[in-house]
Subunit: 325 residues, 2 copies
């Protein structure tokens, strides 16, 4: 089943169900007013949501409307928490070079995760506002999961039981500010503005075999102003979502509506390109001595969509313009 | 005006107004069901809440009940964000020694702030669960503010306009895990479990002259098992809340219900003691070569209350037992 949140002027928006082929949508308000409400009582509400999804796919919802991603907020506009890992080691190694930073201890064996803002997540077509191009505006194409309540101390083996939905996202980053904040050890406050999400969150069964080993096994196609720069595969993550969840829940409980991200999807394969510009630039430096690709400018458009082997896009597309705040 | 949230089985609890002398309480449900709801439409609802508070103080609320801190959740059990600074430089300098960590760049001139979990904030009398004593369980006595919506790029000069409520809190910390996470640059996920709050959040006018220069000018009395270990003064903060708010809002907007903390209240004056055990221990090491005060054990009780010169406690008391999860 696929779920979206339509803007209605409220902070949490309105829950809608979207058909598998992304053509139709129907309001779920008789079942749950918001995605937040659905996640908080998921076991009670999921059967009714699923029945509506099946009716929608079967053409049996008379009041269905054409699905319109432009009406979408983030599927969960205000999450309980946003915890983002860095589980593609190729990305991390390149960032060490880009930031000229010392290696992160145990980077390949123990997840690193930061906690970002979860109160202002953005929709797939919203213009994305930034204070200044001087901050070196960058994208980070990622996958994520939304969990239900996760008890403190949940082990890796039991962690995937708590996954409710899968998401695709852009963890916007300000590269000029990132190394300084990182050097201070407290994580990022200024270098990580709001994060954006593809229009639909989906239950894991939507991906069939592409949800495997606790990883989203799809290529994430990333384009700037229509030019593809990345098509990295999500299967290359060093840490499964199971490991990331148990890492985050080691000393605290996680509450329903917590989103956990993979970090920038990144592959060792040069054919895969990059899901962020910092990677593109550091590869240029390593090859040519200087970076030639600029960071993002106001007016640039960033599009991201995961694709299956048959060309479908299970999460829909993130397609946003970078604008001045 | 003083506001509290009584537990009612829901995730956000029920908003109550508490009398200035902390003797009486009355439900505010006819005005706003929850603290969250009140903060999201503060300008509309505050006058009615204030009228109820005045009636309560004047003995004109027939259905008022004796105020019971044991019924309290955190005043805002699920905040939009929890952003915690380290603005008492004396604390920071001692922590460098305690963690044997390199100095934080620009520590005295640019705030450091981490983003912690805001989805599971704890009430003043709840037993506080931890996985293991081996993690070196510590307290951190702090003050904080709850803001309304803060636009991106808000300057220091305008930041205090967004302060809605003041709070007193304990930012529980696991010292064994903190230096390792800090060395990795992503902030703390495992070293910072849930944070606890004194029973009432108060409007700034409740403090009179003790709300001055964007600081809470009160002594924070901290005791373990009835023995006072700290009485540090909140006025010594190097950064005002105005500065902390504008730091946090530099590249992102903050949403109503965001809590911003001072970090551990700490004074250079030896008579002031300490608001955390890491400070106590590092001072012992500096004096005697070895620490003699242990970290917290299961069964220990931690009590924290800010006091005015006339002995009143504007926020009530945090008084929790440390327990095994």
């Amino acid at each position: 089943m696929k779920l979206a949140t339509y803007a209605d002027g409220s902070r949490d928006g309105q829950l809608w169900i979207v058909s598998r082929d992304l053509r139709l949508a129907a309001p779920a308000r008789d079942i749950a007013p918001t995605m937040r409400a659905a996640l908080e009582t998921w076991d009670d509400l999921a059967p009714a949501l699923r029945a509506l999804a099946e009716d929608l796919d079967g053409g049996r919802v008379p009041h269905a409307e054409p699905f319109d991603p432009a009406r979408c907020m983030a599927p969960l506009p205000r999450a309980s928490a946003w915890l983002d890992g860095s589980s593609f080691l190729h990305h991390g190694r390149l960032m060490e070079k880009a930031f000229n930073a010392p290696p992160i201890p145990d980077f390949g064996t123990v997840p690193v995760v930061y906690q970002g803002g979860s109160d202002d997540l953005r929709g797939p077509c919203e213009p994305m506002p930034f204070v200044s191009e001087e901050h070196q505006i960058d994208m980070e194409g990622e996958f994520g999961v939304i969990v239900g309540d996760v008890p403190m101390g949940t082990e890796t083996e039991a962690a995937l039981d708590h996954v409710r939905l899968l998401v695709q996202l852009n963890d916007w980053s300000l590269r000029k500010l990132a190394p300084y904040e990182m050097s201070r050890g407290f994580g990022w406050i200024q270098a990580k503005p709001s994060t954006s999400f593809a229009p639909v969150a989906i239950t894991p069964d939507e991906l069939g075999d592409a949800w495997r080993d606790g990883r989203i096994q799809l290529r994430l196609h990333v384009a700037i102003n229509g030019r593809e720069v990345g098509r990295a595969h999500g299967g290359a993550s060093a840490f499964s979502f199971a490991r990331l969840i148990s890492h985050c829940a080691a000393t605290r409980r996680l509450s329903a509506g917590t989103i956990i991200g993979t970090g920038t999807v990144s592959n060792d394969d040069p054919q895969a390109g990059s899901s962020c510009l910092s990677e593109v630039r550091v590869l240029e430096i390593l090859r040519d001595g200087v970076p030639k690709t600029p960071f993002l400018s106001f007016g640039d458009r960033v599009r991201m969509e995961a694709r299956t082997d048959d060309g479908s896009t299970p999460f829909g597309a993130l397609d946003q313009e970078v604008v001045k705040a």
